[in-house]
Symmetry: C2
Subunit: 345 residues, 2 copies
């Protein structure tokens, strides 16, 4: 009989980190991956929680990421661009390395960019957005993905699901954070429809001939569509330009060419733009943080929600009551720790 | 009998500029407004062409913009933020003043921001996006508007139609440029439906009670909806935060409070982020401009369109064959020149 297990966040951290260390990741990589996976599980964001461990291990096993990479910080005097080369390791360790210098330059210059190159991208963008807001800074984050989305008016995959994320720091509350795919749905959602035999909503996808389809199989063989029609398509294209081409890293079609599959974590770069509300607002009337609260109150006051509130509520529960895993999940964690890369195909 | 008139771009410039000078604008303000209005007309973007002259004059007459303002450049050594105070004049003159210093800082630091404060905003964002791309830089531009859009899940106007624009410089072609409202439709489109007695498409608006409506009158009394559901709503909110609150300028609800109407040009600020592809791509493989062309070819190659292509085609026609105005339009230009502020109510 399945029995659930309640773990503290720290206890889950230890279990996840042990898996990565046993699988041959160096401590820098293992710690950074553990942080985002535990954050996902803690926030009841199951699609970015422990479920992702296997994908990371599969990517290691396929030789598409260096599990022992040591990221390298590249600072140029007088530049507002901070670069970190992930050395073909996961983006997460590179982000952690770059964050302090990036936050410092953002505060000094008013705005700055953190560019991560040559990384295997893993996890949602919100953990990074939140980390930047903790420095009292606003953040805009984007990256390509695999070519699975057709531009509006087109008929085949070209753009990625290219996530676009933003954060605004709040003094006495969890930050304002959004993080979404620029496709109308995430690829995983189409896969879930396929598994459960459900049709897709109209407007999600086209088939291999470029015609609208509600069949998950046909959609997976065809292309997904951008959110919001030509506007989302334009934003997705902008992300290819800024967070692929401009930073000298792969675009979504190049990622797919390189990997040959969408089942491994993608190899590309990432662009993070930081802005200091204090620097921007200096000399102007009003405190930007207090004014933002008025805006949030007006949103919530008319019954609309701020993004990420479900995650923050789940986080509070996890922090006070621990994280509940099913028996199957606990067994899987044990299995992954024991077998390491042998556990994945 | 109505007879059309063909004018060269220069001849149209002279006519428009004379109107503004006769109406009491100083040369700095008159020239900058003329540039964007003629650009709109030249690009067959009639909603931002000479049709807008009256709105500008009405705003002057209402005392909501200073027609003789001299914008002021505020440079801080070592900062990547270039600020221009429009001194309650139009944004356009402020933008022109700030552009050279902003472009210089963007090239030096890799990225920089141009903040325009205390301006009356006038015209689309694409003329400014294009001006930045002419410097070989990528640009991200945004500003608030009047509160006419309900956040997703809400039931009353709070956000503006908050335009979001982007440009990427191309070496042998017109730049990649998009510029769109973050509402599903522009307010003018709802007004056009009202005038022609047509119902609105589903999903454009809600009535004053917060219920979905396809009636233009009910929509104008209610609120418009963001494009792309909660994603567009989040982007619209981000624009209030960055291009209203962060830069110490009015948010869309504050703009509406200040003006008390949506029929005058709005008073608020504007945020422009510039990025140097050369600085970002330095030391990385591949030329970013050549790689971008490959992406554009792939988009066009599958039958999709790049944004703004219709405008660029119209521009080419205008440049070679002149701009065609109807007799009524020519008469209106003459009338506006003769009567100045007396011509508008």
């Amino acid at each position: 009989m399945a029995q659930s297990l309640t773990l503290t966040i720290t206890a889950l951290r230890e279990r996840v980190e042990a898996i990565f260390l046993n699988a041959g990741l160096n401590p820098v990589q293992a710690t950074a991956l553990t942080t985002v996976i535990v954050a996902g599980e803690r926030d009841a964001c199951k699609s970015h929680g422990i479920y992702r461990i296997e994908g990371a291990l599969r990517t290691v096993k396929a030789g598409k990421v260096d599990p022992r990479a040591i990221p390298e910080l590249q600072l140029n005097e007088g530049s507002a661009i901070v670069k970190v080369n992930a050395k073909r390791g996961f983006a997460n360790a590179a982000f952690e390395l770059g964050l302090p210098a990036f936050a410092k330059r953002t505060s000094e210059f008013g705005l700055a960019a953190l560019v991560i190159n040559d990384c295997t991208h893993f996890s949602a963008l919100w953990p990074e957005v939140e980390a930047v807001t903790k420095e009292g800074l606003a953040a805009l984050v984007m990256c390509p993905s695999y070519a699975t989305v057709a531009p509006t008016g087109g008929n085949k995959p070209l753009l990625g699901t290219n996530p676009f994320a933003f954060g605004w720091p709040r003094k006495d509350a969890a930050p304002y954070v959004f993080d979404f795919a620029t496709s109308v749905a995430a690829r995983g959602e189409i896969e879930l429809h396929r598994r459960s035999g459900r049709s897709l909503p109209q407007g999600w996808a086209i088939d291999a001939e470029g015609n609208p389809t509600t069949e998950p199989e046909a959609a997976l063989a065809g292309a997904m569509l951008p959110f919001g029609g030509h506007k989302g398509s334009a934003i997705g294209t902008m992300i290819e330009l800024l967070a692929g081409i401009m930073i000298g890293d792969l675009t979504s079609p190049e990622v797919l060419d390189y990997l040959g599959t969408t089942t491994l974590a993608p190899f590309h770069g990432e662009l993070i733009i930081g802005m200091s509300p204090e620097a921007f607002a200096a000399g102007r009337p009003g405190d930007p943080f207090a004014r933002a609260e008025k805006l949030f109150d007006a949103i919530v006051g008319q019954g609309a929600r701020l993004p990420s509130q479900r995650r923050f509520a789940a986080r509070q529960t996890s922090e006070t009551q621990g994280i509940i895993l099913t028996e199957a999940e606990v067994e899987q964690l044990d299995r992954l720790r024991e077998l390491g890369l042998e556990a994945v195909s």
